[in-house]
Amino acid sequence: MTKVTLENVSKYYGNIIAVDNASFTVERGEFFTILGPSGCGKTTTLRIIAGFEIPDTGRVYFDDEDVTFLKPYKRNTAMVFQNYALWPHMTVFENIAYGLKIRKKELGLSDEDIKKRVEWALELVKLKGFENRYPLQLSGGQQQRVALARALVTHPRILLLDEPLSNLDAKLRIEMREELRRLQKSLGITTIYVTHDQIEAMSLSDRIAVMNKGKIMQIGTPRELYFNPNNLFVADFLGRSSIYRGEVLRQSGLEVEVKLEDADVIIKGVTPQSNLPRKVAVVIRPEIVKIGSSSDEKDTTVKGVLEFAMFIGEKIEGRLKIGGLKLLVYLPNTLNVQVGDEITVTIPWKNTIILPLGVE
């Protein structure tokens, strides 16, 4: 098991900043995810860790060893590519055995050992009996498993996964997600996973780094990020929310009172930052909004007209018009409401997040 540390890593392509001064540490055996929209530099970060790119500033450490300039084939990482990158002219067995054959002498393996290891890997990904097929004979999910087996068979120090599930259909993706989690936990291998899918990220990871425009915005457990985002980008990117601009009226500790810009409403909420600027954003997740009024006087109770409602099975997604504001709400699927109805809702102050504007 290996610890991975990035220290002030930047990478430029011409004048485009792909990675901007990123620093983080991935603990031994941790499942760490880099999450961000496409083009945010997450794949570049992964490629820097794999050694395909050299960072323009900063250093990369595996445990205490500086690997910044080490060639990719000397790092003993194993990467699973988005397009699987299986060699079409080799069978499943040959594909998986490749990494072992390359290091046969170094690891002191016999042909029999290699065979056993490949069998072990195939069993791990539940593909026994597929040894002699060619990649093109396999389905997308099976190819994905072969790619995973090829990476795991060498017992790498670090497993690197570049959006491995994005080419699978929805059902298979959920299945593979669980499988990946199970494998990673049972092998205890340090894993760095790159994705733009927040559900994947939250369900799989021990910790997540959210990235935007090359910068790491926040690092934390899925819960921390979701409930306590410390900047607007993370709040907006994870989950759904209504976001309003407002002005701070009063701040005491982490409790804030904000007057909204577009409506005559005063909202109380909490903030991770003790010294907020005057202009702030108010983030309200739809699932915290409750129907009816509240006994807690700090909660905000407002009346709004249901402008739009969509029945989506387990709930009704609705949009309330409150003065000049629009509030996203989830209503119970048993509730009988129609567009145009007036509804009273409560916004609990403990779950209302106030963040500084400007820092995206």
Binding site: D56, M79, A85, W87, Y98, I102, T154
Partner: protein
Amino acid sequence: MYLLRRLGRAGLLDVVLAGVLFATLCMISYEVLPPSEVEIFTYIVWSASFIYGYVLLVMGFDYNRVKYSFSLTFLSVIVALYEIIVLLICATGLLRVLAVGLAPYLGLVFLGALREWFRYLKTRRELVKEVTVSYTRRIKSTLHQLDKTMWFFLIFGFTYLVVFMLIPILLVLFHSFTPPTGGYWWTNFYSVLRTPSYVNLNPIYSRPLEILELPGGGCIIILRGVNYGPVLNSIIIAAIVTSIATLLGVFVAFILARYRFPGHSLLRVLAIIPLFNTPFINAYVIRLLWGEHGPVSAILRSLTGCSLSIDSLVGVIVAQIFSFYPIVYLNAYTAFINVDPSTEEQAENLGAKGFRLFRTVTLPLALPGIAAGSTLVFVFSLEDLGAPIVFNEPNLMSYRIYSGLLTAHGVISPEIAALGILMLILALIAFLAIRNYVSMRSYAMISRGGRWNPRIRRLGLLGQLLVYFLIFPLVVFTALPQIGVILMSLGVLKPYIGESGLELSIPQDLFVYFRRALTDPMIYRYFANTLIYAGVSTLIAVFLATCVAYSVSRFKVKSVTSILDSLSVAPLAIPGLVFAVGYYILFAGLAELLPIEIGSRISPASPAFEAWLIFIIAFSVRRLPYVVRSVFAGFQQIHENLEEAALNLGASRFKVIFGVILPLIVGYILSGALIGFIYMATEVSTSVTFGGIRDDQAPITYYMRMYYSGGAGGGPLIVAAMGTLLILLQLIVVVVIVYVFKQRYAFIGV
């Protein structure tokens, strides 16, 4: 006043007006000024006219209009070539008036491009300031990509190309500046460009067409062409051949790409036949076909009572059109197939149809491909030796260089070197301009990944008549030389001695000439030589192509890879004769530096000269672009992740390339090797020049050159048998590439 009024609205009209104005000024000066002052005055007008292009830019002519319009860019390339030629040969009279008239446009384009480039540099410098990466880190980042294998690939690729391509060319350049006794450094160029033996604007004997009355009644029309001196002849011929071949090629390609009719496949096969390269004998057959007793003449005689005979320059033109038009045809065919049909459908949907649709949508989209083919024809026509030798036309640049090489006894006349440099410049300008132009406009291929069915229509009655009565005969006619070669090799078609008559008869033994060609120990040696040289050169070229193509596609330092890339395609634009001159100078120079026992073996002036060395080097360099293109396509086919996956698992670059990647693209490599091989086997320029020095080491094309027209027993018939064998070889290669490797066999584009 006028300028002010048009400020900010300058358009093409203003360019034309300016041109007319300056040209008129020039014309008036001819009438008004004394001759001594005309010269200097026209130069002033000329420069003013060129600079006026900048005024037009300032007035608001949008340079992007030229940059993004296909016809305007194309026009500017042609104008540039024209202006350079007029300036070089110092032409006067109407030629210069026209040049002055066109100068504002050229000025506009040239200065516009320059301005844009400066602006780009400026913005780039500003942008670069934002991001600063320490130099050590940059160097480390570059070195990171350079493991042992990459180092070797880059160094080997660069060394081979620099030593065997760049240095010989530079030697020719230096040599061309060697002054003759009492001359200046520019004397050679002066004599090549300004003396009547090279450029003759007022030919004394200028009768392109001559009608002779025959004593026994009837008459004979002889087409010769006007001799303006070798330099102008070459340029004019190249221009004429390029234009006609382009028209013909595009026409046939369009019909074949877009229409289906009974006999379509047959026509497609027939249209490729002229591509089969059979040096000398091919032009020889064309000469017979168009000679006094050939079929063309017979048709004309039955119509008008006069026979026809083509000779010298006109003969070269006809022979080259027939040999080179399939290059345009194949490029145009691919281009038409690759035009996204939805763009045409959209145009039809908006109401365009027929020729308008073709002119406004189809042709512009296919033009980059067509232009690439045309450029190759231009270069090939300039450097062609076969037709000039067969039609016995020494007044061409290629022939002059050739004879200059044959008569060089260890030292090449600097004048010949200057001629070679001139030819190189002309070819390079055309090539670079078009390459730039094509790379900017590869939109025909934008959605190449998607498979679509090209638009195919049936022909109407009129169209069918057109196809069966015009195109079929035309295409069959262009295929006649190759068919003639085959018939000749079987002894069915016999030329009379004196090259005047033809006879068709079925002999008893069809294969007598093949047997002789293959059993005669003398001739067998030429065959063996060719196979050995082409084989070894192919191996070298494939290895070199792998080094170059891999480095270019994977090494991410743009300045290095773009140089390597340019070097590897450059041989397409460098006439073979320039290579020949370069190798001659290189080896003669080396021989002097080395001790006598080695020197005498590599000196082209000595009888012990090891000519095979030059053949192998020349073949491998000259045909490299064909191999590189194929191998490069292979590397591009492979997603880089496939390679990274292996690197990631601990394989070194060497193991990745040779263990994973090359096996994947073996089809591309073998196709490239095969294409390279057949072009090497039919190489002419260096073969016939160096073959003469050691004819026991000469390749087969040298033999064909020596004996195509008679000479020792059998003459043309045996050469025809060789030609047929070459056709067979090429046919096998095409079939293998298309059906075994499943690649498209297309002539190389720029």
